[in-house]
Subunit: 198 residues, 2 copies
């Protein structure tokens, strides 16, 4: 089974594929840009993005949005994580966190999946003429480290230490692939598409 | 002359009115929310916002977007200034700027004005049936201070020292009203609406 994944980030596709392969689901990257709405909620951002992409390509597909929410920074950078990463990076976040004791943070991910479903009217079934949007979310709790650690993964992975683990996501991609926000969201999507692992 | 100004920020209305009064133009605040698109460009954000508000109220009006672009932070926070202000505030920016020598920054503002213009078809004039969008922009150069100074104004005013002046926008609102990015943009709008001061 193939699912189109509209994203410019190949790392996300790799992480999704890692989950999908246990279900016989391949995620194929497509490059269709979409406006990212301003919302505090990754699910809303993903949903609006998916609706836009669907309006362009008229095929079932997914869009994922994610972010890191830092407790002591009032959930900054949240849905603006990519922007913050591009501008101030991990070093900027560490600088903002300098001297702050409460280092709690969480990574969140939402996958919006738009599929085509049958429409019924006057007893007649019109195959695939309606669309349905489903949202699958994942969260992982952790802490912001005191310095960057590790070079794998992407984005804020080098400064995120998942709860109960001693290595950052960038030091230990195996753990990331097993417990991350994105893994959880994609696991839910795959369960929905194909309830039993092959 | 009255112009509707869609914004939730009364400070912006006050600053616009300060300019408008010299032209006999009153800016009347209306509360119509609009999605802020993600763009590096305040003009694009203002334009998209104005188009949305016009689609809701079908009356001529303006939307203004502004931001502060900090050179050494790769123009962070830019069009995300309100979000960054709400989450990390002036203290967060000062923390990010800690130890950085290059403190150059600029405030930018763009006013999008949608007006109704006559349409012509087959020699007949249909009054006010088309719309026209004009953008008026202002920029002011300056520096980020080493600490917050002053309590007037709003947003990042306490940490912005305009080039050639010794006081921040929050210490000296009179100077702000005379030289700010917003003043320049609104001056251009007023010139457009009414070329001669009353």
């Amino acid at each position: 089974m193939e699912i189109l994944f509209a994203t410019s980030n190949k790392h996300k596709v790799a992480e999704a594929s890692e989950v999908g392969k246990r279900y016989g689901i391949a995620f194929n990257q497509i490059h269709v840009s979409y406006p990212e709405i301003r919302s505090d909620n990754v699910a809303e951002v993903a949903k609006a993005g998916a609706e836009h992409v669907y309006s362009q390509i008229k095929k079932p597909m997914i869009v994922e949005d994610s972010g890191i929410l830092i407790n002591s920074l009032n959930d900054f950078p949240g849905t603006y994580s990519r922007f913050a990463f591009e501008r101030i990076g991990n070093k900027g976040i560490l600088k903002l966190m300098n001297g702050i004791e409460d280092r709690q943070a969480r990574f969140v991910s939402a996958v919006a999946y738009i599929s085509e479903v049958n429409a019924r009217s006057g007893g007649i079934i019109y195959p695939g003429t309606n669309t349905e949007t489903k949202i699958f979310e994942g969260v992982v709790d952790g802490r912001i480290t005191l310095e960057e650690r590790g070079a794998k993964g992407f984005g804020f992975d080098p400064i995120f230490l998942p709860k109960g683990y001693a290595k950052t996501f960038a030091e230990d991609p195996k753990t990331k692939n097993a417990i991350s926000h994105r893994k959880i969201a994609f696991e839910k999507l795959c369960q929905h598409l194909k309830p039993k692992p092959v």
